[in-house]
Amino acid sequence: MKSNRVLRTPGGLSLRLDVRAVTVVVLLLLAAFAASVVLIGTGDFPIPAGDVVKTLFGNGDAGQEFIVNELRLPRVLVGLLVGASLGLGGALFQAVTRNPLGSPDVLGLGQGATAGALVMIVLFSGSAAQVTLGALVGGLVTGLAIYLLAWKQGVHGYRLVLVGIGVSAIVTAVNGYLLTVSDIVDATRALVWMTGSLNGRDWDQVWPLLAVCAVLVPLVLVNARGLRMMEMGDDVSNALGVRVERVRALLMVAAVLLTATATAAAGPVGFVALTAPQLARRLTRSPGPNLLASLCMGAALLVTADWASQRAFGADQLPVGVVTGVLGGVYLLWLLVTERRAGRI
């Protein structure tokens, strides 16, 4: 059952911890670290896990240091940060919409970012940096459009999901159009981007992601208590003194920024935002948005999926988006079936 522990100081400070949730977070962090170590060790020059750890802590030899720190660590860090951003963004969206389907994948944020990237690739033959910027802008504009279209004296969950599905359909059509007018080289490049991949990611992708996370994650966690109250409906949370519209707007903006930055860095890696919060919730068995657990779950999932995509078909044969797409698709089917049985859709 419930296993809450309370820490109190003589000064009147008190913290309430759900022991199970904390345990889950710690285990997921360990899992993400372990998967990262294995992933760094994987490649044309395999490195044993022990050496990887040693190198990461600054005690490796020069050759390994170059491979680990310059070649493979950035990719793993991008994977961790993208996974964490998607996990947290998904958890925020699902909590705000009070719907497990209310994730960025379903709402069309991924498609929006894709549209931005496609415009850069197809119309301007832009550089990698320009494509990233295009994806970021595309994601943000789509997020804003969904929010404004769904606005009717406040934003309500179900409305947001329906509007999001509509917007997603429109943007998908635009993306299809852009692909048909592109030449074969651009189209190939676009398709690779659209699958979501961590290939060739370096420190240039790490820093912006890290900066966004460093600002947004604490901001989101500070507002988590209000979000937890909002689970009970707008009226109850208003009555409890939560400024519902303000918290919701703030968290939506944070979620859109997290998702758009992650998508800009790695392409629309499918289904992580949809599955990570649900898996985290099943592990913690705790009500509430489970933000931290979702974040860690997203990071662990993405790095594990990246490792699987490399191992299964040889190095860099398969973009990570294919693996998450297949796993997530199966999960989405299962979710639709159970939600339908429960009479929620």
Partner: protein, 290 residues
């Protein structure tokens, strides 16, 4: 209007000069649809005020305005002399509680955890769960008779038990004023009485000011110390049920011919609708006359 109400309400002999909660000439509207115009209401301190009226008369809307869920397009709602919208949200939440009609129990939450969420306005990021919180939650569960359900999941409970849990959550908020929007809806008669008894207890024994919207006029007449009859967004009558509930009032407010007799149990007014035949004949006579 407010003077009438404070003198006629038996429990309010103290006659405070200003009541804690009031609405001053508020206009209430959803989008462009105006529900009430220039409506002024005083909630007498320490009363059990019940708002009654036909469907769509604006009673729930009035309650939403009083609990700052709906911002009046004109006029203002005052809590302790301040405009309620301008007060810090948590401060209001420590003074005024609301049990809304629609509330969602999160999946897999236990009774004790749900009741504990009522402590939110008393907590902060560094003060998440004090011994006081613990004590109040236990007390609230005991008062509502759900203490033995503390570790059960809310989804497993019956409708009546669940409503008690939500009331316990509102109690844990420890507000001197408590607003309830149709707290007896969807409950069978036994649980309706059960919830109303609990409200009466909170009012009489703890001196909380209660404001409830009720559908059942007889329940309202039996439990209220102060009754507000609303029609088309206007107050038709207000005061102690014994003073204001008459056959004429019921006909005016609800358009229903009836007799008002003394409740054999409590002596409060009891509304007995006229038989169908009598009502049909009256209607025919009325149309012929006109």
């Amino acid at each position: 209007m407010s003077n009438d109400s404070t003198t006629s309400s038996g429990l309010n002999n103290r006659r405070s000069t200003v009541n804690r909660l009031s609405a001053e000439k508020v206009t209430l509207a959803y989008d462009q649809r105006v529900i009430a115009e220039q409506l002024s209401v005083e909630i007498p301190d320490n009363s059990f005020t019940v708002i009654v009226g036909p469907n769509a008369c604006g009673k729930s809307t009035l309650l939403r305005a009083l609990s700052r869920m709906l911002k009046p397009s004109e006029g203002r709602v005052l809590l302790d002399g301040q405009v309620i919208q301008s007060m810090p949200a948590k401060k209001v939440a420590r003074t005024l509680g609301l049990l809304p009609q629609s509330s969602i129990a999160p999946d897999g939450i236990t009774v004790a955890d749900l009741v504990g969420r009522g402590r939110y306005p008393h907590q902060g990021i560094l003060r998440q769960w004090s011994t006081e919180d613990e004590r109040v939650v236990q007390e609230s569960m005991a008062q509502t008779g759900v203490a033995e359900l503390a570790d059960r999941y809310v989804d497993e409970l019956s409708g009546g038990q669940r409503q008690r849990v939500w009331i316990a959550m509102a109690l844990a908020q420890q507000t001197p004023l408590l607003l309830l929007d149709e707290p007896t809806t969807y409950l069978d008669i036994q649980h309706q009485i059960d919830v109303l008894d609990l409200c009466a207890e909170l009012h009489e024994e703890q001196g909380r000011t209660l404001v409830a919207v009720l559908h059942d006029l007889n329940h309202a007449a039996r439990y209220a110390t102060h009754l507000i009859a609303l029609k088309n967004g206007r107050i038709i009558a207000e005061g102690a049920p014994n003073d204001i509930v008459t056959a004429e009032l019921v006909e005016e407010v609800f358009g229903l011919r009836c007799q008002v007799i003394d409740d054999p149990e409590t002596g409060t007014p009891l509304v007995v609708p006229a038989a169908r035949k009598a009502r049909t004949e009256a209607r025919v006579a009325a149309t012929e006359a006109s």
